[in-house]
Subunit: 216 residues, 2 copies
Amino acid sequence: MTSPVNDLPDELGTMPPSERGITRKTEILDAALRIIGRDGLGGLSMRALAAEAQMPLGAMGYYFRGKQELIAEAFHRHTQRETDRVVKTITDLREGLPSEHLADRLADFVIEGLGDAREQLLAEYSFLVESSRRPELARTSSAWQNSLRTQLRRVLASLGSQSPNTDARLVLAVLAGLEVDNLAEVLQPSQARMVRAVLRRLFLALDCVRTVSSEN
Amino acid sequence: MTSPVNDLPDELGTMPPSERGITRKTEILDAALRIIGRDGLGGLSMRALAAEAQMPLGAMGYYFRGKQELIAEAFHRHTQRETDRVVKTITDLREGLPSEHLADRLADFVIEGLGDAREQLLAEYSFLVESSRRPELARTSSAWQNSLRTQLRRVLASLGSQSPNTDARLVLAVLAGLEVDNLAEVLQPSQARMVRAVLRRLFLALDCVRTVSSEN
DNA sequence: AGACAAGTTGAACGTTCGTCCCACTCGGAG
DNA sequence: CTCCGAGTGGGACGAACGTTCAACTTGTCT
């Protein structure tokens, strides 16, 4: 009856849950993310989840109080994994680099999301739409976006941006918009080139503003 | 209010539907759009739809072959209504206008979508996510985006853009991204100001590129 | 008036859903 | 050894689901 494990950032002071319990719980969450990415939130049923995780149906009720809690925790886990990926990408290009390189790296990021990591991206937007109707998901969503913006603001500031906050929001909007506009259909090479062209165009324009206004 | 002609290919060789039949059908579709905007696609059930449209459950089965067909037609109707709204907005600012005005008009468009027309926007993104898994919806979705891009390309070309196609994609990406990034929470005045600032920043940068390169 | 098809309706079908429950396993502490 | 509670698993519950259907009403033409 009692909850078997606590939240993932577990306090070590109390009695730790068994290692197998945590493992099984995260396996369920990963299975949920696979289902949501493949079939959407509408395709996520407790039975389909049990089958995907190769566990009996009763285990779902044991590890999660209900479907809502499961979805919230799955979203939380998704943002954790994505944050790791973004941080790694950002730190790779931390030092002073031409903005063209940054544009191409961001294009790679979008293209990867629309290609190999397409299911994760679909899960992300499924969560996002759901967030607009459920405050607890909205908190996870805005925390995730704040994290992205903070990371990007630093990079843009080091590039010489005079309004790194606005620019970060602008760049993030372009990234999200490129994802959204290519979400419906599988990514063709021509559209991948277009993604690159749009981001190069954006950073060319931003560079231009910076250069001209610094001459004044 | 009611579309004069049924846009679907009339495969019924027997009889054209009566006027009342068309009216009721569109009433069902509008009720479906209200439900999807309020509760998402997951909240759309045949019974909830019948209640929202104030019709008996059997009528749903009479006017639509199944739930999938109903969703597809609702999406189609949504894009029709939105196309009308966009065309009207675009034609309002048809003639040569400062790009700052265009930025503010587009900001108004986004802010309106995130405010008063929030439910329609939520329905739109619900459809968009679903489009990634169902080809027939994807066709409607890409047709809608092509329409938007064509409209915007003309405006940007008249503003002196040298790459109106890329610029149109860039601007559309920013618009979609601003919507997505503010979808999770209700729009605060500070965020409305930020939307305006981001779009002004974008058009300032695009203007800058145009001006500088035309001096060469 | 009669007839026939389109339109309309409430009920019922079988399925699937989320949730709950209880018997069962099993390793470590008394 | 026994005991105990966390972990495990299968089944059953009521509710809600999409869909189907036969009976009924309405309007129109002969």
